[in-house]
């Protein structure tokens, strides 16, 4: 097993990937995972985090098999 990482929208374009996979380390958080995957820039303050499709804090502990998503503020709906 491992942790799946997804990026969406402008963030997907900025990091240049839509999906990645990383081994799960004990006590690992989304912030740790971001550092593993996006080596060259820190996690932007306005980026939203979801774990298994629920909004989550960047310091929430992860477990093996989790799906973690990073994305910019949402802009659906209407004007």
């Amino acid at each position: 097993m491992a942790i799946t990482v997804k990026f969406f929208a402008s963030l997907r374009e900025q990091v240049g990937m839509d999906t990645a996979s990383r081994p799960c380390r004990g006590g690992m958080t989304p912030a740790d995972l971001w550092r593993d995957v996006v080596a060259d820039r820190p996690l932007p303050g306005n980026v939203l985090v979801a774990v298994n499709m629920d909004y989550a804090a960047p310091d929430q502990p992860l477990k093996d098999g989790d799906e973690v998503a990073f994305f910019p503020p949402v802009t659906g709906g209407a004007a």
């Binding site: 997804k6 929208a9 499709m53 949402v74 802009t75 659906g76 709906g77 209407a78 004007a79």
Partner: protein
């Protein structure tokens, strides 16, 4: 309650006509409040020629269903319908439809507006606009309340 996320264009009034036929207890409904959001051909002072609506498949449906369930817990509602487009859109294409059926108008108005604001602030959709000069991601939503 029904939530639909679709890459196909939809005609809101036809969707509403068809959905209303399916209501189990139409004569309990005294009020229906509807919101339709559609694509404008301008934004922040620029002409917009088209749009791509990206979303997070799975999380989108999950959050829309949760928003609707929360509204049904908070107000006395007969039914709720949410339809949201994804993919390539052109100006005046419908983006989102929220419809709430209730016994009384206060519940219908309040729940419809609440679902719409919740959707805008939480459902994982992102708009990329096609302008004369190239494309740009929409960075933030307009306040609705």
């Amino acid at each position: 309650m029904t939530v639909v996320v679709t890459a196909e264009s939809f005609e809101p009034w036809e969707v509403l006509r068809a959905h209303e036929q399916s209501l189990a207890q139409r004569a309990k409904v005294g009020a229906c409040a509807v919101f339709v959001g559609s694509m404008r051909d301008f934004n922040e002072g620029d002409a917009v020629h088209g749009m791509v609506l990206e979303h997070y498949p799975g999380m989108t449906e999950r959050h829309l269903a949760r928003i609707v369930a929360e509204a049904k817990a908070r107000w006395t509602l007969e039914d709720v319908l949410v339809v949201h487009r994804t993919g390539e859109l052109l100006p005046s294409d419908p983006i989102v439809l929220v419809a709430v059926w209730s016994g009384h108008r206060r519940e219908a108005f309040e729940a419809c507006r609440h679902v719409m604001e919740d959707l805008k602030s939480k459902a994982p959709f992102w708009k990329k606009e096609r302008l004369e000069t190239g494309v740009r991601w929409v960075e933030h939503n307009t306040p609705g309340q």
